[in-house]
């Protein structure tokens, strides 16, 4: 049986950040107020941003599944005590 991979604090912190990033990508690209019509000038690279980040998200999901550790992640600029 494959040995569970040991995870040090640094890796855990990095993983927490990347799990946060997955959630951030979901929110900024799929959520939020959307404005329509001729007052909107498309920002040229939003589609590219999506494609580029989707690859990153896929790799994080794979990593999370393989490592199989629970991660409670917080967005780095806001903690629960601040709200």
């Amino acid at each position: 049986m494959r040995q569970p991979r040991r995870i040090n604090d640094f890796e855990r912190a990095r993983q927490a950040r990347e799990v946060s990033l997955v959630d951030l990508v979901d929110r900024l690209l799929d959520g939020g107020v959307v404005i329509h019509g001729d007052i909107t000038l498309a920002v040229a690279d939003v589609d590219l941003l999506y494609v580029g980040l989707r690859a990153l998200v896929a790799s994080v999901e794979t990593m999370e599944k393989q490592l199989g550790i629970p991660v409670t992640a917080h967005s780095p600029t806001l903690d629960a005590s601040a709200v």
Binding site: D23, L24, L41, A42, D45, L49, Y50, K65, I69, P70
Partner: protein, 222 residues
């Protein structure tokens, strides 16, 4: 052109820099304020720093009061256009601000964490199944475990939330993904409930992120 970060209840924008270090300012109409920065040109890179830069501004706004975050990349020609947007949608923006005031968004996912069939140890004795069958049965069991866990998790967390999104499955692996709008004074209770679930449910990982601005709850309230 003006880059939009969020729509607020009219408070002064905090002293934090916008994208490319541009200063933030407010454009006001009907008591609402759109928080913007001005740019001659602006191309967003496909890079996480851009996302965090937008997010940092919205989080700073969230410290001041209720905010409706914009989707990333929202750009408007000029101040007149922003005022027109606020005027046209004022009633909906106000209702939606009311609905998120005093609450934050928390993200919850759930995924099976046991080794996949492809990584499972080989059986000691021969079994009357081909390797493909064994793999598929294990995969189905992953899926069933995730579905069952997702249901329990959602039922346990829902009572602590003001609103929630319908739990959705990720395309890749059928895992539950949901967002909860939680009163600020219930965030600790929510986090504790997630912790309890994590201990109670074997073989399932439950990452919980936040507090986020209410990105998943900005649909205008009827």
């Amino acid at each position: 052109m003006l880059y939009l970060y969020g729509i607020t209840e009219g408070f002064e924008p905090p002293a934090v820099p916008g994208l490319r270090d541009a200063p933030l300012f407010a454009i006001r109409e009907r008591g609402l304020a759109a928080i913007v920065s001005e740019h001659d040109e602006l191309e967003l890179e496909a890079d996480e720093d851009e996302l965090w830069a937008h997010e940092a501004v919205v989080e700073a706004l969230m410290q001041e009061g209720a905010v409706l975050p914009m989707r990333i990349g929202s750009v408007v020609a000029d101040a007149q256009a922003v005022r027109g947007l606020l005027r046209e949608r004022a009633a909906g923006f106000w209702r939606t601000l009311e609905s998120v005031r005093g609450a934050v968004e928390l993200g919850v996912r759930a995924a099976a964490t046991r080794p996949l069939a492809s990584q499972a140890p080989a059986p000691v004795a021969p079994v009357p199944r081909g390797p493909g069958t064994t793999y598929m049965l294990a995969r189905l069991s992953d899926k069933a475990r995730e579905d069952e866990a997702a249901g329990r998790i959602h039922e346990a967390l829902r009572p602590l939330a003001r609103r929630h999104t319908a739990p959705t499955s990720s395309v890749r692996r059928g895992a539950m993904r949901s967002a909860y709008l939680v009163d600020q004074d219930r965030v600790d209770a929510f986090a504790a409930r997630v912790e309890e679930l994590q201990h109670a449910l074997d073989g399932v990982s439950i990452p919980c992120t936040g507090p986020w601005p209410p990105y998943s709850f900005t649909q205008e309230q009827a």
